[in-house]
Symmetry: C2
């Protein structure tokens, strides 16, 4: 089988190297027959696409290379696209994707890192750190005391690999965990789970709220101003999903009014966030630059292992576990 | 037995209330015969000291009320002083304390809260948060990626209830934990323990350093400029003990030079930190206002339980477990 790895030309931290590929094959001897090429330029891409049956690449490369209607002409033998991101909202709507091509996301690579970032954010909010870092700008020593997480309630929206990992860490610290996902199916790290349509019923109990779901037409704008107001006075909020999941202006307004007790967000609208954005200046809010879930020490190894698991499933006639369903959006 | 609780007149968050006392007695029925008084003023103090055999109070009250040589005249029947702080360095040297009076610290109350603050600080440093909060002051979106804590090495100086709790949390996240304390006795949450005199031998391996020991003549200035330079390039440092344990100017210099990769400190010299201090402005450094280990939801309940444990030991003819040894300093 003919595989092509197309790295972005400007990628310095996360390019997939031939050494990483060889190491992944050594962990998966059944993949030793794969023939692989690597490129980060136009010529390498064009040369590989004549024969490639699968491509491993970035969402921005897919977005740039496969305009609507273009794919069959550009890559006539291509049947599998593996993107190294977990969230492929940038590629929606999926009208550019032929039915004959499986689009795979990178769900699973990010769990350990996202779980650590999530519990860090909860601890920072419990300890008032977003207020202290704003006090520091004015040299103001203003103690506020804080209680431990044990016994307090967190609502985690999205129970995929990111949200599931945050829920597991929160449980480890003794929190009561309410999960929200598309169905109300139970989850091993949650005390209760409700379907997205019932989220209003649990928000009034959420001392902490964590957004960790994919961005789809169903989740865009889900945490709007009305729902933020349903949270209890002093609630603390975290977003490690995508900026458009919530109304970030309303988050700032409700921090300013005192209804919200703090916020940590790893995602913004737009990204990069421009210097003049009020998010940089709102007391009680810490912005991190979209790094919560990407661990460079393990990222490509985990990504290639997941890619191979999907190829193995296809060879066995099984569904590919990371296949994105265009109608669902993730 | 006659007990007096003297709250500071200006204390708003942590005063011990009669309701908290009654609740503690209900958890310790063998203490039901204690007779207790409460005051926060001079008259109440003076009235109680004629008869009190034990006092529960703050270090600053002891410091103000019991000058050198004064105690036998002020409180002729006093045999036990329970201070609600864990670190009593403010009361050293202990030349004001008659041999006939047992001085007790509040070791044990702070463990759960300190453990959470400690792992929060380690996660914040691993995730470059002290750099992002400084970038935010200038509206600068500058991603840096980060790896999980698992497999990385932390050196925890002090293995009392604070340091022991941090070590336990670090172990829970898969870190390799090196402990430093007065002796090299093993500790259940440490992979290895060295005596304080051998600290130079482990600093070059400490990707993370946490100071959580008491301030004594033996520990003052322990982490000086020379020892900070022994840490590996990019090391990240935390202080939840006392400001004078390290050279805070050297910490700032080594952050500016790039030798240190970040710092979180809950303690400073002096406290409160004045607005003009460079600690507020040094990139890579986050200051929190001495709140790491005090949980108002549980503080007084835990404190009174610990006080009663000590009275119970004394009644049984056992050593009081929280007694401070003046020669040792804690």
């Amino acid at each position: 089988m003919r595989i092509h790895v197309q790295n972005p030309a400007d990628e310095t931290v996360f390019p997939i190297t031939p050494q990483q590929w060889e190491a992944a094959v050594s962990r998966a001897p059944d993949m030793a027959d794969l023939r692989v090429s690597f490129a980060d330029d136009d010529a390498g891409f064009a040369a590989a696409m004549a024969e490639a049956e699968a491509i491993v690449t970035w969402t921005k490369v897919v977005h740039a290379r496969f305009a609507k209607g273009a794919l069959p002409g550009v890559a006539p033998r291509l049947r599998t696209i593996f993107c190294t991101s977990a969230g492929l909202d940038r590629l929606a709507p999926f009208d550019w994707l032929p039915d004959s091509v499986a689009l795979l996301n990178n769900r699973g690579t990010h769990a350990a890192k996202a779980g650590e970032f999530g519990i860090m954010a909860l601890l920072m909010l419990a300890n008032h750190v977003p207020w202290f870092t704003h006090d520091a700008r004015e040299g103001r020593w203003a103690p506020r005391f804080a209680s431990v997480l044990a016994g307090r309630t967190v609502c985690v929206v999205g129970l995929g690999s990111l949200g599931g990992a945050v829920a597991a860490r929160a449980r480890q610290f003794g929190m009561r965990v309410i999960g929200v996902r598309s169905s109300a199916a139970p989850h091993e790290s949650c005390d209760e789970v409700v379907a997205q349509g019932d989220i209003d019923s649990v928000l009034p109990r959420a001392e902490f709220l964590v957004l960790a779901c994919p961005l789809t037409p169903q989740t865009q704008g889900m945490i709007d101003r009305r729902r933020l107001a349903l949270l209890p006075q002093g609630a603390k909020v975290v977003n490690i999903g995508r900026g458009p999941l919530w109304d970030q202006e309303a988050v700032c307004d409700l921090l300013d009014s005192g209804h919200l007790g703090g916020a940590v967000t790893d995602v913004t609208v737009p990204e990069p966030l421009p210097a003049e954005s009020r998010l940089w200046r709102t007391p009680g809010l810490i912005v991190t630059p979209h790094m919560s879930s990407d661990d460079p020490a393990t990222y490509n190894d985990r990504s290639l292992d997941i890619f191979f698991e999907n190829l193995r499933a296809a060879r066995a006639g099984q569904p590919m576990p990371n296949r994105v369903l265009p109608g669902r959006g993730y």
